[in-house]
Amino acid sequence: MSKNKKLKVGVYGITGCAGCQLSIIFNEEEILDLLSLIDLKAFPFIKELNTDEEFDYVILEGLVANKLDLEILRKLRKNSKMLISLGACACTGCVPAYRHFTLKENYEHLLYKRQEELQDIEPSPHDEHVKVDYYIPGCPPDKKEILRFIKGSVRGVLPRPHQNPVCIECRRNGNACLLDEGKPCLGPITTGGCNAVCINGGLECWGCRGPTKDMNLELMIKILRDRGFDDRFIQDRMRTFAGLKLPMLERVMQGSKSKVLQTRFDGEKKFYE
């Protein structure tokens, strides 16, 4: 606290939608206080003067999509005691990394020759390239979670990351379970911490915060199949936000075909046609 010097912090973005950095700023009521808790050395999104000396930590949005991104990522990692991956792109690769699961011919025609430095590399989250010290996942991340992180860091504590499934918060919010309505909700296998905003807003969870460590993937697949979703659908859905964090998906899908799991579903089947 006041005894110590303020922490030197940088907020940067590489390829992303800027939504995560906005999520910091959109803490409208706290933002000015928040940024005065730390010594904000860099935040190019809203600052002209940015020094990139030694940071205590860097909060970095975005995924690695070209060589320049990788260069920046490595440099920041080197200059910072801690690296915080902010948002789904940074943590799981998010929608841009879904490219791994599309046919090449779908985007080939969009490829053009670029300057060497901006040459594409396979879209990938930070931890495929460097060590990450803390994750604030989500697309967009929960703005209060960022707030809690910064407040915590000032006092030398890192908030325990969420590891419980989205369902916990969803039920606490008093929602009707969308699985019972035949909708393909990924809440049970997705790490919570978002307060189940999507379900509160009427949409099933798409899994933007990435899979939980404790997920029962096999059962989730079975549940979705029971509700009439085909395997293609299940794969597409699960891979939209966190495909790279589900490398076992195909194997589990194959394996679960032979297994009998007796679940019950008394709602109506809803095909997404």
Partner: protein, 423 residues
């Protein structure tokens, strides 16, 4: 005298861009504005996905315009499916778009643009002297975010708008409450106009033509023809007029077919539609003395400020409406093509999808405002340069940055910058 100015990371814009300027013997030999954002190929990755995934995925193109992408994608998909949405859904989508415009303009005006004029490096360092102004900004942002959250379920990448309608409707009381809140922040919008009208802007005229949607019924948001002072065309015909091409020597991405540069922005909207502004916005406009039509891109900030008032007025109007319970329609896929063109904070946004008989997306094209503005932006810099040459390096940089920021570019939207480095 030879000068090279490289702005490697242009700050206080969304996304990442750089500018290369080379001036030799008083002549500009190189002027390259380029996005350094990694390519994400959104148009490629939505291919093969079903129609209901388009807005979910493309919303991730841009955080601050996420509502815009959602609405544009939904409009295009519904167009392709031949769905008409209810009047209420339409109204709410307008509100969602306006709310986003409020927060986006407020963020841009105060956090990205204003420090340039007041001589600060960032809004944060302005805080001690300009606390009330910043608080105005934060209130406006909070308002915009609040409405987006109410309608869309969350601040960014809203979820409640779906193909054909709303997954979850706001309650009547909430709408009424929102109307009251909007009224409270109107004074902040008015103060914003005053503040920006007081800033001195250079005299300058862009060679580019302006374009925006024009809707006879209202200050265009979701409907209308794409028009400038000279020509206009319907959204389905856009391919005939806008051509995207890529030349290794050229900076062009999108040009109007007759080889005219154009820009889209709040200023373009004001040029076309200022007579449809709300009463208070018109009054504010008059008080500023801004002459329309204007081709001075430095006027865009002021135009945004004026739009703030209009958006609040229009939003309040919508909040008065009644909320009826509506079910989502049953959807049967069919093959077809659909286009969505809507006015978003930075100009006109285009989404275009082709679906097959199962509702799978077989082709997609997205044209963002910044992509349309790039060429104009760069050429404006080129045109502006000669009058700046005598100045000191820092002043040139500041002036150029101001120009760029006035366009409020959003390089995150690089869904579709074909070639990012121009020579």
């Amino acid at each position: 005298m030879s000068k090279t100015i490289t702005l490697n990371h242009i700050t206080k814009i969304e996304g990442h861009a750089r500018l290369n300027l080379k001036i030799e013997k008083g002549k500009i030999t190189t002027c390259e504005l380029s996005a350094t954002e990694g390519a994400r190929y959104f148009e490629g990755i939505v291919k093969g996905r079903r129609y209901y995934a388009a807005h979910e995925m493309t919303s991730r193109i841009c955080g601050i315009c996420s509502c815009a992408h959602v609405v544009a994608a939904l409009t295009a998909i519904e167009d392709a499916l031949g769905l008409t949405i209810s009047e209420q859904s339409c109204r709410l989508r307008v509100l969602l778009t306006l709310a986003e415009r409020i927060r986006s303009h407020a963020t841009h005006l105060y956090f990205l643009a204003l420090p340039d004029y007041l001589g600060y490096e960032s809004a944060l360092s302005m805080a001690p002297e300009y606390k009330p102004q910043l608080q105005s900004a934060l209130r406006l942002m909070k308002m915009g975010n609040g409405v987006v959250k109410l309608l869309g379920g969350r601040d960014l990448h809203p979820v409640s708008a779906g193909v054909g309608g709303w997954l979850k409707l706001p309650r009547q009381e909430e709408m009424e409450e929102t109307g009251k809140e909007l009224l409270k922040v109107k004074k902040d919008a008015i103060a914003t106009v005053k503040l920006f009208a007081g800033l001195r802007q250079p005299e300058f005229e862009s060679d580019a033509e302006w374009f925006s949607l024009v809707d006879p019924n209202e200050y265009a948001v979701l409907n209308g023809k794409f028009a400038s002072g000279k020509s206009s065309f319907g959204k389905h015909e856009y391919r005939k007029f806008i051509e995207e091409y890529h030349q290794s020597y050229s900076t062009a991405n999108f040009v109007v077919k007759e080889d005219h540069r154009y820009f889209v922005s709040a200023l373009a909207r004001l040029n076309n539609n200022h007579r449809q502004l709300s009463k208070d916005a018109q009054k504010a406009l008059k008080d500023t003395g801004l002459k329309l039509p204007s081709k001075n891109p430095y006027h865009n900030n002021l135009a945004q400020a004026i739009e703030l008032i209009h958006c609040i007025d229009h939003a309040m109007e919508i909040c008065k409406g009644e909320i009826k319970k509506e079910e989502m329609p049953e959807i049967t896929p069919r093959p077809g093509r659909g286009v969505g063109a809507i006015e978003v904070p930075r100009g006109t946004l285009w989404h275009d999808y082709t679906l097959d008989e199962r509702g799978t997306i077989t082709d997609a094209n997205i044209i963002t405002p910044t992509a349309q503005n790039l060429y104009a932006m760069q050429e404006d810099i080129r045109k502006r340069m000669p009058s700046l040459l005598k100045k000191k390096r820092e002043e040139i940089v500041l002036d150029v940055e101001k120009l760029i920021r006035n366009y409020d570019p959003c390089f995150s939207c690089s869904a579709h910058f074909l070639e990012v480095k121009w020579l």
